[in-house]
């Protein structure tokens, strides 16, 4: 089997031994109606409404979406417009909390009798991929093709982030139960829990737990970024290739994030939808890096203050990891379902971009075998045929090419801009 390219990053998992700290319920939460891939939700509440914990406050008629729930009890004080880091605008429900945390009567374990009711329950949970991409889970768990393998993505290959690792260390049984639940509901034969080699304790622990279960395989992924990328993890754990224009399901696999599968298990037991999440808060501006569990809608500023951050010193704030995370333009933005990390840095030097020297480092590191240097050149002259032949549409924006470029060319960004030139069929 061919080895895919990858890069060695400094792991900087400073918080790997920091048990999750629960952040107290804030005075106010602001919950955007679009936190996942797919259609944004419409608010189901009005200003002045009382809401309770677990109550659905936003939903959409479009199947490719996930409903939004409140994680607090309190009163809706405003419905505002929210612009996310991608620039898209959606509605946002602002709730002043009453501190009671009264649980809604909607919260009860769902009744699951068959696959259909299972998928429906998954949708009602508001679940999406918690690794960062935010793909609605109920869509993923309702594939049209025949699935024989469930891959649980526990690579967590980005530096700093330890949110999934803490899930593995703190709730391992939920993960195993979740895997078994998804397997039996969807009639999937095998499960593979794929963990990057930089988490030896988790590998050891799960290997012991799954010792007597032939259907769950624990896979050690090499420590080469980006192991957690979907195509990479599928190839490295099953040897299967997801062909251009097809889905992982067409290769007979479903890939789920490890925290998502644990959450789903808990939801089926308690009926409490996705209203909290764990984030790693780190970066050199953060005084006390921590793993924090908080309700969705908490502002980044409060979490940073909670971790003894000198707010004035922050130059760059990243939601997610340093490789694929998004620059946060506003420190008062809220935690969303996909926030797996918040990294605050007190310095950022923008190096000047210089000419491509054609050293080929970008080609050597691309896990998919793309040629970013050539794409860069074709993009410059807007050669769309050439861009198509260079398969730029397959770029997953892992950022490895930009990372290694000695001329500091923004190759990954160029790839995304180049994609926009190619007409969609």
């Amino acid at each position: 089997m061919k080895k895919l390219n990858g890069i060695r990053l400094k792991h900087r998992k400073n918080t790997e031994n920091s048990s999750t700290v629960v952040f107290p319920i804030p005075q106010k939460v602001r919950i955007p109606m679009s936190m996942t891939m797919g259609a944004p939700c419409q608010p189901l509440v009005k200003v002045g409404d009382e809401v309770k914990v677990g109550q659905k406050i936003g939903d959409s008629d479009v199947p490719f979406s996930a409903p939004v729930h409140s994680g607090v009890s309190g009163k809706v004080v405003a419905l505002t417009d929210y612009r996310n880091a991608m620039g898209a605008v959606c509605k946002m429900v602002e709730i002043e909390t009453d501190g009671q945390q009264t649980v809604s009567e909607e919260v009860k374990p769902p009744v699951v009798t068959d696959k259909e009711s299972f998928v429906k329950a998954v949708r009602e949970s508001g679940a999406c991929g918690l690794g960062g991409a935010g793909f609605p889970t109920h869509i993923k768990l309702n594939p049209k093709s025949n699935i024989d393998t469930l891959i649980i993505n526990a690579a967590e290959c980005e530096p700093y982030i330890t949110a999934d690792y803490r899930e593995m260390m703190e709730n391992p049984q939920d993960i195993i139960n979740g895997i078994n639940m998804v397997k039996s509901q969807l009639g999937i034969k095998w499960a593979k829990l794929a963990i990057e080699a930089n988490k030896p304790e988790a590998i050891k622990h799960f290997t012991e737990m799954a010792e007597n279960d032939d259907t769950i395989d624990i896979i050690t992924l090499p420590s080469a970024y980006p192991q957690g990328a979907e195509k990479v993890i599928i190839y490295n754990s099953t040897g299967r290739i997801v062909n251009e224009g097809t889905l992982p399901a067409d290769a007979g696999v479903i890939v789920m994030n490890v925290s998502t599968v644990a959450f789903l298990y808990r939801y089926m037991q308690t009926g409490m939808p996705l209203v909290t999440r764990r984030l790693t808060i780190d970066g050199n501006a953060v005084g006390e890096p921590k793993n924090v569990s908080t309700v969705i809608g908490t502002s980044f500023r409060e979490l940073l203050e909670f971790c003894k951050t000198d707010i004035d010193s922050i130059k760059k704030l990243i939601a997610g990891g340093p490789m694929m995370g998004m620059s946060v333009p506003d420190i008062d933005m809220p935690v969303v379902k996909t926030s797996n990390a918040l990294l605050a840095f007190n310095h950022y030097d923008e190096r000047k971009t210089s000419s491509c020297i054609r050293c080929g480092r970008c080609v050597r590191v691309c896990p998919l075998g793309l040629m970013p240097a050539d794409i860069d050149r074709a993009f410059k002259i807007r050669n769309i045929d050439e861009l198509k032949q260079l398969k730029v549409m397959l770029c997953m924006n892992c950022g490895s090419c930009t990372y290694v470029c000695p001329a500091n060319r923004k190759l990954a960004e160029t790839n995304q801009l180049a994609k926009a030139l190619i007409p969609r069929k």
Binding site: G320, E350, S354, I357, L394
Partner: protein, 313 residues
Amino acid sequence: MNKLIVSPSPHDENYVKTSNIMLNVIIALLPAWGAAIYFFGMRVIPLTAVCIGSCIFFEYVCRAMMKRSNTVGDMSAVVTGLILAMNLPVTLPYWMAVIGSFVAIVIVKQLFGGLGQNFANPAITARIVLMVSFPAAMTNWIKPLEYDYDAVSSATPLVLAKKGGELPSYLDLFLGKTGGCLGEVCALGLLIGGLYLAARKIISLAAPVSFIGSLFVLSFIAGDDPVYQILAGGVFLGAFFMATDYATTPITTKGKIVFGLGCGIITFVIRRFGSYPEGVSFSILLMNVLTPYIEQLTRTKVLGAKEAEKNEG
């Protein structure tokens, strides 16, 4: 509070810069350059200084005249100057070296768009231009260790091999105790430099190995002394420092192997059948010209990409 800086991902980078790579190439050339001083005397130093100085000068002036950013800081002009000096005989008049630098920097590099855009190796092209313009001065070899710049009798080992004469031993060839250009005599120094660059992952050994390997095999088949063929002349300098030039050789390993094979074959053909005793420079220049085609044919295979579209257009 400061405004937050917003930029596209990734937000992390490694610290290998262009100037850093160039500096490593300079370091890698030093052993062979030091050997040149030992064998050919102190004139090596001013000759090298003239090459490097005029390359920097031309780079600066050319960029300024074209109203482009100053790129002297990337150190590539220093590398070009040093490699050019390595390709010259120690007796070459300084003004000819300046012409060589002009050809390398202005004509080959900057007129084609500067760093990374040149289609041919600047130093190789300059060497060839000087060789056809000033054939006598460019083949003015002195005896090693005698430091007598007026006695211009010594021939290079390849000339000796072609025309007959007393050949230096393998050891002398390997260490560099023979006539030739500054940088090409000491195979040991070049080997150390090449392996250093490979160890720092700055160059890949694909092209050097296929270049030297194919020349060795062809010479062996043709009945020449293969060890002699690879140690004499500019093979090591060309293979490790010019057939590995980023801009003018293919990016993929497959492409690099094709490039090296081509260099080996052309060098062999010129040496064996041509009227020139040496063919390394021409082989690299010819393969430089073929590089865009080699690149087209040796692209990487993208994971999961549809094959059918490959023949479009």
